[in-house]
Each structure stands twice: as C-alpha cells, then as structure tokens.
C-alpha cells in the first residue's frame, strides 16, 4: 500500500518538486478534457524527456497506480480524464521541435508541441503538416497521434496515420522503443500503425517523426450558402461524382451557423439553412477549372450565394466560422456534448433526419457540423448540466444517434476516438473475438489494465460511471492510500 505522500515524493525525485502537482485545487483542473467526463488524479507529473517518462511509468507500475497520458486536454472522448485516478503524465514540458529537414520533408518533434506551431515552423520552409484539427491552436501532436486526429483538410490528404513515419514510445511497461522510422515502409509488423489511434492505452509517444508536404501553389476556397442541408449534401455528391477530390469539404447546419454568427461575426445571412465550404488546391491550371465546376455544382443544387476566396486573408474569413463553430456553441447553452459518427455519404440525409427526430423527442437542441466529404458528422447536443438529470438524458440521446450511424452502415468515431464514453458501444461493431484480439495487443505493450484504464475497449475493473469525486478529493489527506 502506498500513500499519496510517498507517490508524490517518488515522482518529485524523478522530475523535481516543481514538476509535480498534488494540491487538490491544482488537481481539479486536470479532471476534465473537452467533453463532459470528470475524474481528478492523485498527482500530475510533467517529465522533461523520454527517460523521465520511462522512470515515472516504471514507478507507477511498481506502486500499482493507474497512469493516464495527457496532451492539451482538448480531447472529445474523455481520453485524458484519469478514470481510475492515479497519475496523469502531462507532456506540456516536452514541446520542442527537435529537427526540421526540408530536403527530406520530415520533422522530428516532441509530443507536447501544439499542432499549429509545427505548421508555423514548417511554413518558413514552404512546407506544412497536413492534419489540421479544428482545435489545432491548442491540441498537441501527441494527442493527435493517440486519437489519429483528422481535420477539415484530411479529405484528400488523409489523417494523422498517413503523416507520421515513426514514433519513439515509452510503452505501458516502461520500456523505450521505436515504432516505424524516418522513412515510409519499414519492414516488419506495422506497430506504428497500431499505436496511432490507440488513445493512450499502449504507451506514451515521446518523439514523433512527421511527414511535411509542400504548401500548395494555389488555393481557392468557396463558401456556398443554401436553404437546406439536403441541397448542400447533394452538392457534395455532385462534386465527388464530377471526379474532384477537394482538399476540404465542410458543412454546417442552421443551428451551428447561428451560433457561429453570434460568436464570430462571419457574415452568414440569418436565414441560411446550411453552408458548404469547399477548398481546392494544387497548381493553378488545375485548380481554376475545378473551382468553376464546383461553383456550378453549388448553383445547380440551389445555392443562394457562393463566395470565393483566393488570398489568405479572405480565406481565413471564410474558414473562421468553421474553425470556431464548435466552441461558439457555448452561446446556445452552457454545455454541449459532441458526437463523432461516420456514415456512408449516400446515407447522410437519412441519418440527419434521425438526428432531427431525436432532437425533438428529447427536447434538446442539436447543432450539426460535418466533414461532409468523408461522411463524418458531429452532432452537438446543447444542454445545461445544472438541470437535474440533463447529463443522463444527453448521453441517452447520444447513444441513439450513434446507433443510427451504425445502423446506416457507418462507424462510431471518425476522429475523436472511443475514449471512455463510447466503449460500451464497441460490441455494435465488433465480435467478442475481435475485441479479445485488440485486448491482447495491450498485453504486448505491457498494459495489464492500469495504463489509461476504462478507455477504448469495454470492461475493465473499477470502470463504473465517472463522477465528481469531490468528497474523495476533500477527505483524503497526504497519508491516504492511493
């Protein structure tokens, strides 16, 4: 049995007193991520390098204390919430760019680096890092790796796994190992691929080798305004049918537009029913004719107006509403619960109707944002957690929507991960054997249940409903057992 005092003492010996948080008030702000799950750790530790991470992991394993990795805490599936308390290992002090190699178009970075800072540094060399989650100002490369994050520009270019060549990892067992390398296609099993998207359940990425791409010579962005979601959806199909793969195709519904307009003043007309953003990039000779036909597709499907941007400033204006859309939902209600379903593009309109029906039945406003090109929808249920029973109803409504996505032949997560909240839905998609095999992969990395417990796969011990553990926070002194 270990007391908190001993645990904190051990962590401090590895990382220094200043790099361990243990006061209840300080721990409180590590009880959440971007979603509604909550549970505070016993301690948060900020290692400076790979060796310190490995030592911390070994210490926690020796003491039998659960570990949860954390990047910027923008996750939308409760991934960095320490479900069984224990220790949070935060990567905030590991945020350097170790190397940019413009000749080979790669960069080596530490996991705590905010996504946007990589793109800013690469831009100096005429390069960029493709995965651009809407949270890119804040979220970290390590968190992106763990969630296999996507972004508006992943339609043509692919998600995180398509842009990470190799990883240095401290495994759940506390070993330091490399997965993949500095070039694509390393021989042997693709453990790099298995690690990306593993939601922090196999280990902690401590160095990431990413692929950089040359900035496109020419970019044209179109913003089309429609009366209905149907019109916008049909436009998406027409554009794809015409043989184009735009860099991005993003859609927002009326509720979202109104919130974004209130919060960000993007100049959307008040009566717009849907907005579609289409971005085309490449060499000008290809992009310009594509822009013309994309514009025509919008008009044919009933667009009221199509705005076009060719320079960075105007483009940013067109994107502003989309990038800030989710955050601005705070204007509708104090809380939102964001879902992340995938449906075949052809079923989009049908699933949207189910979402509308759920919204009405539960009396909960639902705003919808989509990565329309790849059928990834983000219904956001707005609510106020202060109303008794609200959170429970929201979770029920969310489950119904997820079920609708799976029934339509889709999936449970496009990019936000399964995390805590969706693990119980995994049997909708996978057989027991499928799940067992995935579970065995954890063992390979040395995770016997204490490394980011209660995430991704159903079951696990002590994974009841997470609750505000206030009483526990207050009552337990430094001599309480962990």
């Amino acid at each position: 049995m270990t007391t908190r005092r001993e645990l904190v003492g051990g962590l401090s010996r590895i990382c220094g007193d200043a790099n361990v948080l243990w006061r209840p008030e300080d721990l409180l702000v590590y009880e959440f991520d971007g979603t509604i799950e909550r549970s505070a750790p016993y301690a948060v530790v900020f290692p400076a390098n790979t060796e310190e991470v490995a030592e911390v992991v070994r210490l926690c394993n020796a003491l039998g204390v659960a570990i949860t990795p954390r990047g910027a805490g923008t996750g939308l599936s409760g991934g960095s919430v320490p479900a069984r308390r224990g220790v949070v290992i935060a990567t905030a002090r590991m945020r350097r760019i170790l190397e940019i190699d413009p000749a080979n178009r790669i960069a080596v970075v530490e996991p705590g680096l905010p996504n946007i800072q990589l793109s800013e540094a690469a831009a100096v060399h005429g390069l960029f890092y493709a995965p651009d989650p809407s949270s890119q100002k804040a979220c970290t490369i390590g968190g992106n790796v763990a969630e296999n994050a996507g972004g508006p520009h992943c339609l043509a270019l692919g998600v995180t796994t398509n842009h990470v060549l190799g990883l240095e990892v401290v495994t759940a067992a506390g070993d330091i190992t490399w997965l993949g390398g500095h070039v694509a296609d390393t021989p042997g099993y693709d453990l790099r691929g298995a690690f990306i998207g593993s939601e922090g359940t196999l280990g902690i990425a401590t160095k990431v080798v990413v692929r950089l791409l040359p900035l496109p010579a020419s970019i044209v962005t179109l913003l089309a305004i429609f009366d209905t979601i149907e019109q916008a959806s049909h436009t998406v199909s027409s554009i794809i049918a015409a043989g184009m793969i735009p860099a991005a195709m993003e859609m927002m519904d009326r509720t979202t537009l109104q919130a974004a307009e209130a919060g960000l003043q993007c100049g959307y007309p008040p009566d717009a029913g849907a907005v579609l953003l289409v971005e085309l990039d490449g060499i000008a000779d290809v992009v310009e004719p594509q822009a013309t036909s994309a514009r025509a597709a919008c008009m044919e499907n009933g667009a009221k107006e199509v705005r076009v941007a060719r320079d960075a400033a105007t483009r940013e204006l067109l994107w502003k509403g989309r990038k800030g859309a989710i955050g601005s939902l705070g204007r509708i209600a104090p809380n939102y619960y964001i879902l992340d379903g995938v449906v075949p593009r052809s079923k989009l309109v049908e699933v949207m109707a189910r979402v509308g029906e759920v919204s009405e039945r539960y009396g909960l406003p639902i705003a919808n944002v989509f990565h329309a090109g790849d059928g990834n929808l983000h219904p956001c249920i707005a609510f106020d957690e202060r109303e008794p029973g609200a959170t429970k109803r929201v979770l029920e409504a969310g489950a119904e929507i997820m079920r609708a996505c799976v029934d339509a032949g889709g999936s449970l997560s496009g990019e936000h991960g399964i995390g805590f909240e969706k693990q119980q839905f995994m049997p909708w998609l996978y057989s027991e054997t499928d799940l067992d095999n995935m579970g065995r992969l954890r063992g390979v990395f040395g995770n016997s249940g204490g490394f980011n417990p209660c995430k991704l796969l159903p079951g696990g011990t002590g994974c009841g409903e997470m609750a505000h553990n206030d009483a526990a926070i207050r009552a337990a002194g430094p001599d309480a057992f962990v």
Binding site: R23, T74, S135, A138, I326, S328, N335
Partner: protein
Amino acid sequence: MASKHSNWPNPAEAPALDDLAKCVHCGLCVNSCPTYAVTGLEVESPRGRIYLARAVEEGRIELTAAVQGHWDLCLQCRACEAVCPSGVPYGRIMEHARAQLDTAASTGRGGRRLRKFLLRRVLARPRILAAAVTPVRWLANSPLRGIGRRTRLLRLGPALARGEAQLPRHIGKPLRAGDSLPAVLGASETAVLFTGCVMGEVFGDVHRATARVLARQGVAAIASAGQGCCGALHAHAGDLAFARELARRNIDALAGTAPAPIVVNSAGCGAAMKEYGDILSGDTAYAARAREFAARVRDFTEYAAALAEQPAASFPARVTYQDPCHLAHAQRIREQPRNLLRTIDGCDLVETPGADLCCGAAGLYSLVQPAMSAELRSRKASQFRDAAPDVIVTANPGCQLQYEAAVREAGITARVMHIAELLDEAQSAAADSS
C-alpha cells in the same frame, strides 16, 4: 450572484455563474495565454482559472492560497477572451474573482491593502498624485540616474533597480484636466482628450502630440476640467466599488461636453471606459448615462484613422508596432494603428512574432509579479534583437516603459514611441520639407 453553497468570501461581488458557465472547457484559448505559454500548467491557463472559479462558486473547493496564486499570476491581458469562440467574458470574471481576494483570509493581504490604499488615495487624487510624481520626474530626468546605472549602485537593491527600470527616459511637463491646449482655427469637430491620472502627470508630451495630430486633422482637442482617473487599475485589482465611483465622477465631469467624442490615448483607460455601461449596469441612476458615455469613447488610433483628413507624413525608419493588450484584445483594435503607420512615407512596418502577446507590464503587474513580467519582457527583447527595428511603437504608456527596459535588455538602440508621438514627428517632418 453567488449560489447558496458557494465559497465566495464576498458574495455580492462574486463572478456571475452565467459568465462562468459559458466556458465549455474546449481549451482553444490556452496557447494564447502568456502565463500558460511560459508554464505549460493548466492552473495558469484561462480555462484552469475559470474552472477554479466555478469550483469555488459551486462550493467544491475553498478559496485557498494556491487558488489565489493562480489568479494573481493572470495578467488580465484578455488574450483568452479575444480568441474564445464561446464568448466567455474573462476580463469581467477575473475582476470579480480579484474582488474576493481583498476579503479572503489570505496570503499577501498586507500588500493588497497597501495597493488598494495607494490606488484610492494617490492615483485617484490629482493633487496628491502630482506631488508624488514631482520627485520622480526630477529623478528620471536627473544625471544621477546615469551615474547610478554606470556605477552599478543600483545593484545594491533589486527593488531599487526594478523601480529604476520602470522609469521613463525623460518625463516632460504634465498635461492635466483643465489645462488649455492650443486653439485650432477652422476646426470641423471638437473632441475631449482624456487626460487620465499617471498619463497626464508623466506623459504630458504624448497628450500634446495627440492634440497636434488631431489639430492637423481638423479636430480641436480640449482637456476638459473635472475628469480624472478612469478606474481601470482599481477594477483590475478587484476594487469594483471604487472603480464605479471613479466612473460616475467621469460621467458627471464630461456630461456637459456631450456628444463630443472622448479620445483616449492609453489603451487600458479606453478599454475600461468603453465598459462603463457594464460596470454600472446595476446602478439605476447611472446605467443609461454610463452606456451613453461609453458609446462616445474612442481610442486615439481608432478615431484618427477614421477621420477624412489624413495629413502628409514622412518617417524613414524600420518600425515595429506592438499591440497593447487592451487595444488588441479588449477593444479588438489591430488594423487602425497599422493602417495609420502604413500611410507614412518611408515608414517600413515590420511585424514581429507575438506582437500581440503581453509584454508583461500589465498595469501594476510588473511590480507584483516581477519574475513572470521579466520573462515576458525577455521574450520581447529577443524578438527585437532579431527584427532590429529603429523604432518600437505602441499605444499605451505602461507598455512603453516595459519596451524601454526590453530595448536595454536586448542591447539595441531602438527608440520607443507612442504612436501619437510618431505621427506628430512624421507629420511635422513632411510639413517642414514641403
């Protein structure tokens, strides 16, 4: 209003739950926050500070010394507010959070009392302030200062050295409320020049430059009598009652000048005065008048850029503009100052990374949080070393002093100017050569 389970020591001035609840902890603001950028700690981020306030409000935690420490380290720069898509009124939340610290049985209580006393009894009293600034002016302009620096006498006390570093290079003649400004022949408009407290005592030169620039644009500036300290520093420190009192005094003093615009050349004062309607919203006698007053307030750059008359100006130099927080983040004014500079002949405007990141001056912050303030100043210093500007220009007096210190730290020779001074020099240079 605080809920009945809340742990606020001063419930009447508690942050509003509706304001706190707007934060959906999405985290989009954290990297815009200077203290998070430096520490990497969620507790030193806007999201963390709001979450702690919410926890106190909900009675989950006490307002402990640790919580206060996290709030105290906040610069109140409002960079977080400007990027928050959810519209969280962070500035207002933090003012009310600070209002709790006065009452809380807390660490640093003596310091807080002293600060409150100085803010109330010195800053807000023109005659006492004038008397206090006189020896400082003498010291700043005296040869003793150079000797002190050369002989390292100042190294004797870090507090002494810090104080010296905060002094302007030269303090000109004051310009106070009621002082007369040169008449402008054929003026098309009259504007009230807001004289402020320290601004008028220490930066009289900037006021006179502002008036000259406005005169060339056809506007007669008047330094109306009776106006005084805007109350921004009081509100930031949580002395909301007194901030409201100062707001009422200014509203009364300038009532007779309506509807003339009130032009402010200190970003912090302008931001506070644009929010008079907000801080007096609960005062039935003043709420409507406060809103009318606020609607008249213009930052100098905002006002000057919108005037039809744009005189010729020439200023051949490499110039970098650094956004004052309360101009860029609180008033959302970024383009107007840059546009004014772009129209000047020969003025080569260079942007530095993080131009809108707080310099660490932040009102009294440099005195109460010297370590964080120095770290932020050093970051500016290294940007200046890289960009090698001839002139660093800003639009807030506190920032100017911090940039003087950053220039010394960088070991470069750039001049630090208020944008009104630069425009004044540039316009008079163009007039001389034509």
